[in-house]
């Protein structure tokens, strides 16, 4: 069910700014690809362009055999792409149940899938009828990820899921994402926390100034501190 994502020479302009300047990379089917880079490198714009929330001004985006470059976000979603934005974007005035109901486009919530999700996020079961706006940051992140999982998808785009979360919660979230990864879905994950990236990523693509400057195996980058320093301007110790 999962598909390979391929970007070829993708450009994105936002107003007069040229953010993506010819992005080329692929995210193989069933694997977790980390998209890393310094702040402002264009990672979030890249995810939003794939999702159709920003219109690519050039290049091609393909999911499996389907070209999704010119599609609006609703059509990209219907093509099987789920998006977990950096801001989580849970509907605060809706209950947890309503947030998930809305994400289940194909019909009523599938009970077995819901139990699978509750296995990752027991808190959602506990606060099922609570307003999403009254939840903690970690719980909102659970809602946001659960919304992406409520029906089978071909590709998950996840933007900085650990941002602003307490370390104790991040550990649980890594476990959850690892479990989702085992389900075989293709994942493209933007993450600033290198420890998380190292734990979850099979492959890594590094962006800088709107271009891909490195592509390879995550394990290779994790093992090469010099490369990390050059590409990301970090030392692994500072991110342990």
């Amino acid at each position: 069910m999962s598909e390979r994502l391929v970007l070829q020479g993708v450009h994105t302009h936002i107003g007069r700014y040229h953010i993506l300047q010819g992005v080329d990379f692929d995210a193989p089917a069933g694997r977790t690809t980390m998209l890393l880079g310094r702040n402002g490198a264009g990672k979030t714009t890249c995810l939003r362009t794939i999702m159709g929330l920003w219109r690519a001004s050039g290049g091609a985006i393909n999911l499996g055999d389907a070209a999704i470059t010119a599609l609006p976000a609703s059509a990209v979603a219907r093509a099987g792409v789920a998006y977990v934005p950096e801001t989580m974007a849970v509907f605060s005035d809706l209950s947890v149940k309503e947030n998930l109901l809305l994400a289940a486009r194909e019909g009523p919530l599938d009970d077995s899938r819901l139990q699978w999700i509750f296995g990752f996020f027991p808190a959602l079961k506990k606060f099922w009828l609570s307003r999403a706006g009254s939840l903690s940051g970690g719980q909102k992140q659970m809602v946001s990820i659960a919304r992406a999982l409520v029906e089978p998808r071909r590709l998950l785009l996840i933007d900085e899921p650990t941002k602003g979360l307490a370390p104790a919660i991040i550990g649980g979230l890594i476990e959850c994402l690892r479990e989702i990864k085992r389900s075989g879905v293709t994942i493209l994950l933007v993450e600033q926390n290198f420890r998380v990236a190292r734990e979850l990523g099979d492959l890594v693509r590094v962006m800088d100034n709107g271009r891909i400057v490195h592509a390879g195996a995550m394990a290779d980058l994790a093992a090469d501190e010099g490369l990390q320093g050059r590409l990301l301007g970090l030392s692994l110790d500072s991110h342990q």
């Binding site: 929330l53 609703s74 509907f91 005035d93 990752f120 996020f121 027991p122 903690s136 719980q139």
Partner: protein, 336 residues
């Protein structure tokens, strides 16, 4: 997810009952000042009926603004259009309207309401496609374009129906009053109250019990995420705009029958009141709009009796007080 987070206590939901109770508080303060129970009851029911009519007109505006972020200064044109459609519906059915038969009277009244809803909904579709679509996300242009649209619509109504006020009366059995205790209650006000309450309840059911309502509530908060979940937000926008225009037309019919006259400028005059109500209620909130409309109407009626000069500015004073208390309105919508 970690056990520590699973058990995390939920912050207690903020009590939101107080804004809904404000009309009761206002009534409780006004009652001893008015003194006479019968006068108080008459004024209160008149206020409730007026509030329901204003709510019917304003709820479409608040939904369109809340969800589509559209400042529609042309909303008043649909109020006027609905009123004119009612006169056209009443004209060939004058015999039904004059007959002393509740069934015939309800027939002509219902027909006028349905005709106004259909015509205004259809014109709403055209208005959205032609005028609103090119200016999504551009507030200044929206204001200019929709004001322009409303001027054109008003002049077209003048051209078609003439500049004179057209008299219109409620059907025979809705006229006159009945006495409840010592209070004289106008029958039509009860009818307007029932229709307005029905509109409110229907909106609540749609918003809270249907998938389309869920989408609207989510769209008011975050349109982009609704689209990212796979829904065509543009279609939802058209639907909401048509519904808002239809509600304006429905309110126009109720208001015209209440005032006993129709004129092209009535929509523009009522639009100011609609904006005050949706600002007081919280932009995008139907519940807030309902409370705000009742509050505005009750205070206008009480002030008109207690201090007629104050009634001229009561709406503005109320808005100032509410915004000082709750700067985003009685029921602010998250994300607005």
């Amino acid at each position: 997810m970690s056990a520590t987070d699973v058990g995390a206590a939920l912050p207690r939901a903020r009590a939101e009952l107080l804004p809904a109770l404000t009309p009761l508080i206002v009534a409780a303060i006004a009652a001893p000042l008015i003194g006479s129970w019968s006068t108080f009851a008459t004024l209160t029911l008149a206020g409730l009926a007026m509030g329901m009519m204003i709510f019917t007109m304003a709820s479409g505006l608040t939904l369109a603004f809340g969800m589509m972020d559209v400042l529609n200064f042309g909303h008043g044109a649909f109020i006027s259009l609905g009123a004119y459609v009612a006169t056209l519906a009443f004209l060939p059915l004058a015999a039904w309207s004059q007959a002393n038969s509740l069934a015939l009277n309800l027939g002509v009244f219902g027909l006028a309401l349905v005709a106004a809803v259909v015509v205004c909904g259809a014109f709403g579709y055209v208005f959205e496609r032609v005028l609103i679509v090119p200016v999504y996300g551009q507030h200044l242009k929206q204001i200019l374009v929709t004001i322009g649209g409303s001027i054109v619509a008003e002049q077209l109504l003048y051209a078609l129906f003439g500049p004179e006020q057209i008299p219109i009366s409620p059907p025979a059995t809705f006229r006159g009053s009945f006495v409840l205790g010592d209070a004289a209650i106008e029958k039509y006000r009860v009818v307007a109250f029932v229709v307005g309450l029905g509109v409110f309840l229907a909106q609540m059911v749609v918003l809270n019990r249907t998938r389309i309502g869920l989408l609207i509530r989510a769209g008011v908060e975050n349109r982009e995420m609704v689209e990212a979940l796979g829904y065509r937000i543009d279609r939802l926008f058209v639907g909401v705009f048509m519904a808002g225009s239809a509600l304006a037309g429905l309110g126009g019919v109720l208001w015209a029958l209440y005032r006993g006259q129709v004129q092209a400028s009535m929509g523009g005059e009522l639009l100011v009141l609609c904006f005050i109500v949706i600002i007081i209620g919280g932009l995008g909130s139907v519940g807030g709009c309902f409370t705000g409309a009742i509050l505005v109407a009750l205070i206008a009626n009480y002030a008109g009796f207690l201090a007629p000069k104050l009634a001229l500015v009561s709406n503005i004073l109320l808005m100032v007080v509410v915004l000082l208390w709750r700067p985003r309105g009685l029921y602010p919508v998250t994300g607005r």
